[in-house]
């Protein structure tokens, strides 16, 4: 069977919608800056062929910036010094191209500076395994399997030592009482413990420990929340220390929660690779930024299987986010789920066709959503929430900005909105779109309530 690349499926080249372009923006400021550059004024030498757009943008310096976008990736390059990715020039160029059929001329071959980069990319993409998720981390076989095994064993021992130390820290706390965590001005000492977990090569434990520090300062009822988190951390530590006795899927969950990762390339191409092909509807795409690392979370739902999936990608100063999928698109592709008792995270494999706009997803009611979360907890007790599409629910705005609910259109069941979303404009957008009528909402249903991410109007609107 002849494998065809995405570009071949559409010889005329797909022209993106402006929404697609805007969804690529790493943050609101870039969106704004890109929007300003989406006018012919600063641009010269613009052009496009069936897979790329390029142009020169006059900036504050003498030399114009050279921006080029490979729309099949998508991948971006610009000669500007911005750390944002894609930068405002690439966004502005794409917006110009997407917004106005006449603004960027087609037909001309790319100039040399753009052509070289594009040719380099296409060459790599044509190579073996090039289509796999576009991540630069090709599956490299370990040079010395025995040494690799020794390294892995050493790491397991170190994590084990870390988990034991953490157990001690938790039991000490419970012996002297949670009240002492408050008195001791908890935060600092938790950070110290977190650093110990980083040393023990258990980043998953480190993250959870760091969060304990903020729980103490999280307002009334903090002792209950602290006990919950300590108990779950204890459960994870015990689980890791007794991992030999766990069934394989649960052991995999514990491993990944502790911070042992699996290479995406191994999932897709390794000896145990098992992929699921489906038409995956993009339910949500959100970026979060902790200052050094941008995490992009793309939620997907399989049309045929009904399975939920979560694709994570990470970007930093020197490592751009490589995937952008605005909500509402459908992707005919292979996904490989990371192993676990309740698989959710997945790596993106072969894509069989260009993404096309998809339908409003089917959803469930409030009771079923809570049951889905409860069911998922049976497999993975550490789950904070489970992704759910709610259909026919009515947003009920709360008084004084608190106590928002989503209620079944018929019946008396309701879910509170997760308090973390209440300070933002999302709930109000939800209310505005609903106008008191039932809507379809995607979000995370968890013990803190429902965190809405997308609402259908009927086009998807990110909240």
């Amino acid at each position: 069977m002849v494998r065809r690349s995405v570009g071949d499926m559409n010889p005329l080249g797909e022209r993106w919608t402006t929404d697609q372009v805007l969804a690529l923006a790493p943050d609101e400021a870039s969106r704004r800056a890109g929007g300003k550059l989406a006018a012919p004024g600063p641009w010269s030498g613009t052009g496009a062929d069936d897979g790329a757009v390029w142009g020169l943008c006059r900036g504050s310096g003498k030399k114009p910036y050279q921006a080029v976008v490979d729309i099949k990736g998508p991948a971006f390059r610009c000669s500007c010094p911005s750390r944002k990715f894609p930068c405002k020039h690439a966004l502005g160029l794409l917006l110009l191209w997407a917004g106005d059929a006449g603004a960027v001329a087609g037909g001309e071959p790319p100039p040399q500076w753009a052509g070289e980069w594009l040719a380099g990319r296409r060459e790599r993409a044509g190579g073996p395994g090039g289509a796999a998720a576009g991540s630069g981390a090709a599956s490299r076989a370990p040079a010395d399997p025995a040494a690799a095994e020794r390294r892995a064993e050493r790491r397991m021992r170190r994590i084990g030592a870390g988990a034991t130390e953490l157990e001690q820290r938790l039991t000490d706390l419970l012996q002297s009482g949670l009240a002492s965590a408050d008195r001791a001005g908890g935060g600092g000492s938790w950070d110290e413990t977190a650093a110990r977990m980083v040393d023990a090569q258990a980043p998953g434990l480190a993250t959870r420990v760091r969060e304990l520090g903020s729980v103490v300062a999280s307002g009334p009822d903090w002792p209950a929340r602290l006990l919950e988190e300590c108990a779950l951390l204890h459960l994870l530590g015990r689980g890791f220390l007794g991992i030999e006795g766990l069934p394989a899927p649960l052991a995999a969950t514990v491993r990944s929660r502790v911070g042992l990762t699996t290479e995406a390339a191994e999932l897709l191409a390794g000896p145990d690779a098992a992929t699921v092909r489906d038409r995956w509807l993009v339910l949500a795409q959100q970026d979060s930024d902790d200052g050094t690392l941008t995490t992009r979370r793309i939620h997907l739902r399989g049309e045929r299987t009904g399975r939920m999936a979560l694709h994570l990608s990470f970007g930093g100063a020197h490592r751009p986010l490589d995937l952008a999928l605005p909500p509402g698109l459908v992707l005919d592709a292979d996904l490989a789920f990371y192993p676990g008792a309740r698989p959710l995270r997945a790596a993106l494999g072969e894509r069989y066709a260009p993404a096309v706009p998809g339908p409003v997803p089917p959803g469930c009611g409030i009771d079923a959503a809570l049951a889905a979360y409860g069911d998922a907890l049976r497999d993975d007790p550490w789950l904070e929430s489970w992704p759910v599409v709610l259909a026919d629910v009515t947003p009920i705005p709360g008084r004084d900005g608190e106590g928002w609910q989503l209620a079944d259109a018929d019946g008396e069941s309701a879910l509170p909105l997760d308090p973390r979303c209440l300070g933002r404009s999302g709930p109000w957008q939800l209310a505005a779109i609903s106008g008191g009528a039932p809507v379809t909402v995607f979000g995370a249903c968890g013990h803190r309530g429902f965190l809405p991410l997308t609402v259908w109007d009927p086009a998807p609107v990110s909240l």
Binding site: P42, S60, T171, L227, L415, A432, H447
Partner: protein, 563 residues
Amino acid sequence: MTTTTSPDAARPAGATTSTGPAAPAPWSALVNAALLGTERRLPPVAVRPGQGAAAALLDAAAVSTVRRRAALRPAPAGERPAPAPADPRPVLPPAARRRLALLLADRGGSGGGSRRGTAPDLTELLPQWLAAANGHGYRAPEALLPALLDAARARTDLRPAALALAGPRALWLARLNDAWKFVLRGSGGPAEPSAAADPGRVRRLWEEGLFAERVALLTALRRRDPREGLELLVTTWATERAEDRLLFLDSLRDTLAATDEPFLEQALSDRSRNVRATAAELLSTLPGSALAARMARRAHAHVSADRSADPAVIVVEAPHECDAGMQRDGVAPKPPSGRGERSWWLGQLVEAAPLEGWCERFAGRTPAAIVALPVADDWRTELHDAWCRAAVRQRNAEWARALLGAPAAPAQDAEVAPAGSSRDLTKLLTVLPADERARWVAEFIAAHGLSDAFRMLGVCAVPWAEPLGRSVVDALDIARDAGSYPWSFSGVMGLAERCLDPAAADRLDMLTAVTDEPEGASPGSGGYWSEAFQRLVGTLRLRATMRDELAPPSGDPDGRSAR
């Protein structure tokens, strides 16, 4: 966690640790034990052999946590909001919808820096975008209502247009959020409430509606029949608050009719001074009103032509007192500090007297001839200022034209705005028809440059008609050649970006080149001017694109002329 948990959830929690067979302690008991510490008191949990009490407590807490999370029950639904009223207006075309999102996202983004760069200032384009979208009769996309309301909250100048676009759903939404209370007070809601057709609903809306709804209702009724609207207003007039009375009165201005006179006469004895003053002002603009006649009589008694002189001279004898009758008709007795009270009273009388009456008073002379007459004893400035205010108040174009004179006349400054005058040429200009106004300002700029033209430009119809656009661009070009910095003209530049006809963009393109700086120019000014003109051209092109995006989608998509 606000979801309720069934107290004795029998569902298996599926946690992976196992506890003893004893009935699990309630969660609150576990929390209390954890707060206190296991050193002080033994926790209410089963401790396995070889396990510390603290670890046993953590085990039990883990089981309880997962069990409670897995057994979450739905909360009882609160009271659902009443459905929002339908808005039958069409949705925006997709491109225009994205444009609105961009314009709203840019709110207040570019403040701070003195140099504005070459990118268009999106914030400044929002008002005209809103006006154009309202012109097409679109409704705002629901998803953008929160951002639109936030923008309107921050900028009062946006409110009428933003709320018109937002429509009834914004009103619905604003009732739910205290931050948007202003919507319920402000005017500019739905212009034509369907309720106006049904007398029962009219009455109910008038008595129970929000202020914004009531003003909208009154305006709609008045448009159909001024008498009907007034009848409605009179039913509750006595019980309205003073500030509401003032706003209701003000809303009559555009639909003023002779039948309003008795009501307004009555309002001259209102409890509130502002209401009285507004009633008097409205009456003075009502042709043939008794108040206008009284004011004419008073004014004419103090201003006359001295027929014995040749050529004729206007003689002014200012009033010596402000009697009760004058005060009732809206004349303020106390002058602002620094003004003599007699000239203050005179000015108010002349301002409120119908201008037509002066032609008769001065032997059938035209306004231009009357304005040209000499005035005895330094009263000229005072008298002409009052006529200017009267021309504005009475929207009298012939008088405005006469008082404005020829824009290019030499010594125009001394002529139309002499020392000590409070005359407002810009207001006077608003009385002229749009094309005449643009022509006058164009000639004014050609003769006097841009320095005094900023406010005048602000009242010219957008887009600027020729020759106005051309004269502004020429004046900017001259300013560049003179070697000054462009930010000395940033006000006019900003106006030009918003008001020039987008079709001028191509003609302006040549100005964006960096030119050689003229002799003695401010250093670097050439580059800054080039940048400023680039922004001007870029903004004009963007405005053309925005305008085209708003065109209804029925037309052929290739016929767009964005460039």
